[in-house]
């Protein structure tokens, strides 16, 4: 029988891993909120951001001291993500305005292959190391092991969620974003510049992808499998609700903690490896009971 202390340790590691999922899921929610589209390319954006950051670090490190290099690389990568957002708006979204969401969804699948293909052309398929300058050894507090990178990721995820929640709730652009997600034509008619809004929201999703890419890249190395990590964001979204920014945090924590605990308690009974599928089963169960997720907006259709 596991000791309570061990359970606590498992739960804590799950909590931190869960916040990493939240970081990826955040990008999905942003775009879903602002356009009602499930952006299949979010994982590819995470990969792209990480690769660009690695390349930028190489370039800036060669030019000056490492600390300056880090920030310069971060800013440069942000700029690239904004440019990518602008390109997506111009060549993908603008020609498809007023098309049904399924069309846009298909377009994002195409975008995924485009981004992955171009990345492979530029960077090849080798694994890059990404160093955030955070030491790998954990803190040990009363015998509890806490990874420093995990803690950093958790702080970033929480800070981003708070900032975005405030942005959506109180600012004019945030309100415009909510309007755009409900009805494109109506949004245009009240003078919301749709094209600008899309660049803003894809840029924000690009920032979320960048932070997710940094943390995952530092943990696992920057490689193509990073874009698959994005699939772990799916159960988080279903649990938290596609339209809720705070829901992303709660969903991430629930998934992270429950899959780690399940591994420990249920794993031995079914022969282990429960972690790879438990989240999806949990999501399925939530779908049956609460299709809109824990925090999502209930969709009301008058028939």
């Amino acid at each position: 029988m596991p000791t309570p202390f061990f359970v606590l340790e498992v739960a804590l590691s799950g909590l931190l891993a869960g916040l990493l999922y939240s970081l990826v899921a955040l990008g999905f929610v942003l775009i879903y909120k602002a356009s009602g589209v499930f952006n299949f390319a979010q994982g590819a954006l995470v990969l792209l951001a990480a690769l660009v950051f690695v390349r930028a670090t190489e370039i800036f490190d060669a030019m000056g001291p490492a600390t300056v290099g880090f920030w310069a690389a971060l800013l440069a990568t942000m700029a690239v993500m904004v440019l990518v957002a602008a390109a997506i708006e111009r060549f993908l979204l603008r020609p498809l305005v007023n098309q049904p969401p399924i069309t846009l969804f298909m377009a994002t699948i195409g975008l995924t292959f485009l981004i992955e293909g171009i990345s492979q052309m530029i960077w090849g398929s080798r694994v890059y190391t990404l160093d955030l300058g955070i030491p790998d050894e954990p803190w040990i507090i009363h015998g509890l092991y806490i990874g420093k990178i995990d803690l950093f990721a958790a702080a970033v995820a929480i800070a981003m969620v708070i900032a975005l929640a405030v942005f959506f709730q109180f600012t004019r652009i945030g309100r415009a974003l909510r309007a755009v997600s409900d009805d494109h034509q109506a949004a245009l008619s009240i003078g919301i510049p749709l094209n600008f809004i899309w660049v803003v929201v894809w840029s924000l999703a690009g920032m979320a992808a960048l932070f997710a890419g940094l943390v995952w890249g530092a943990k696992l190395g920057v490689q193509f499998s990073i874009s698959v990590v994005a699939l772990k964001a799916l159960p988080v979204l279903i649990l938290g609700g596609f339209t809720s920014i705070p829901g992303v945090i709660v969903g991430g924590i629930l998934i992270g903690v429950s899959e780690k605990l399940a591994e420990v308690f249920v794993g031995p009974v079914v022969g282990g490896a429960i972690e790879s599928w438990f989240a999806y089963v949990l999501a399925l169960a939530v779908l049956l009971v609460r299709p809109q997720g824990l925090f999502g907006e209930k969709i009301i259709e008058r028939v």
Partner: protein
């Protein structure tokens, strides 16, 4: 309504606020609008009628920038151009409602109408996010304005209701409220009374007349109920197959042989 904004609305009392000059629009082989010329005067109620597919909605969509005409000029508030984008139109004071109601269904009545004030916000993103400085006062002003509209349209009781749950007639009213929140100089109403019962229609007629009275906006409306159109309008434009076949005061249009033919399908 403050005296200042009343004056601003009343300023161009003569002349035209909007003029379409020889405007044509086609989709592939379909000629939706063909060489239409017509104008709207400040504070007038201007109806656009015609059989289905006559190009009425296309004309409204050209005015607020959803469609880009292939030919012709659009003169709005004295500025001529070949195309006016939705953003320019909204900025310039064109507001509209839709045939099939386009509301933000997940939001409450209050938030929907508040969304019509987005262009009026002047404070910076940071002031808004932190709720300091200009943002606080502005928020109060916006709320007050919205409250006046809720009162005017008699929909205070549903201010907190998500609009997706409202019955059709009330949704139409919320949509009108959102357009009014923009303080428009030109209000486009696409079939404001479609699908309404007699009582709801009478309410809507009253609101339309009151809108002109209180807000001083010019109103261009598409409507199929000829009785309503004749009662409300100052002038009526009649379209058929994308062409303007008659234009003038109600009694003039009523007796126009081309209009009678278009509506009764008589041989010409």
């Amino acid at each position: 309504m403050t005296p200042a904004s009343a004056a601003a609305h009343a300023a161009p009392a003569t002349g035209t606020i909007l003029k379409l000059d020889d405007v044509s629009l086609s989709f592939g082989g379909i000629k939706a609008v063909q060489g239409v010329t017509f104008d709207i005067r400040p504070s007038e109620i201007r109806a656009i009628i015609g059989p289905n597919g006559a190009g009425k909605s296309s004309v409204l969509n050209i005015i607020n920038g959803f469609y880009r005409p292939q030919r012709g000029t659009i003169t709005f508030k004295g500025r001529a151009r070949s195309y006016m984008s939705p953003y320019e139109a909204a900025r310039g004071g064109v507001a509209r409602t839709f045939q099939n109601i386009a509301l933000f269904k997940g939001m409450t009545t209050l938030d929907n109408i508040l969304s019509g004030r987005l262009l009026k916000v002047r404070s910076s993103v940071f002031e808004q996010a932190l709720q300091v400085g200009r943002a606080v006062r502005e928020e109060l002003d916006q709320r007050q304005h919205v409250e006046r509209i809720l009162d005017f349209l008699e929909i205070e009781h549903i201010r907190k209701t998500p609009v997706g749950q409202l019955p059709y007639g009330l949704q139409k009213r919320v949509e009108l409220g959102r357009a009014l929140a923009m303080e428009p100089d030109l209000l486009l109403l696409d079939e404001p009374m479609a699908g309404m019962n007699l009582e709801e229609k009478e309410d809507m007629c009253r609101f339309i007349l009151d809108v002109r009275e209180e807000f001083g906006a010019a109103i261009a409306l598409i409507e199929h109920d000829i009785g309503v159109v004749m009662d409300l309008s100052d002038r009526i434009a009649v379209l058929e197959y994308g062409r303007l076949i008659a234009d003038g005061a109600p009694e003039q249009v009523r007796n126009d042989p081309a209009v009678i033919a278009a509506y009764l399908g008589a041989k010409r």
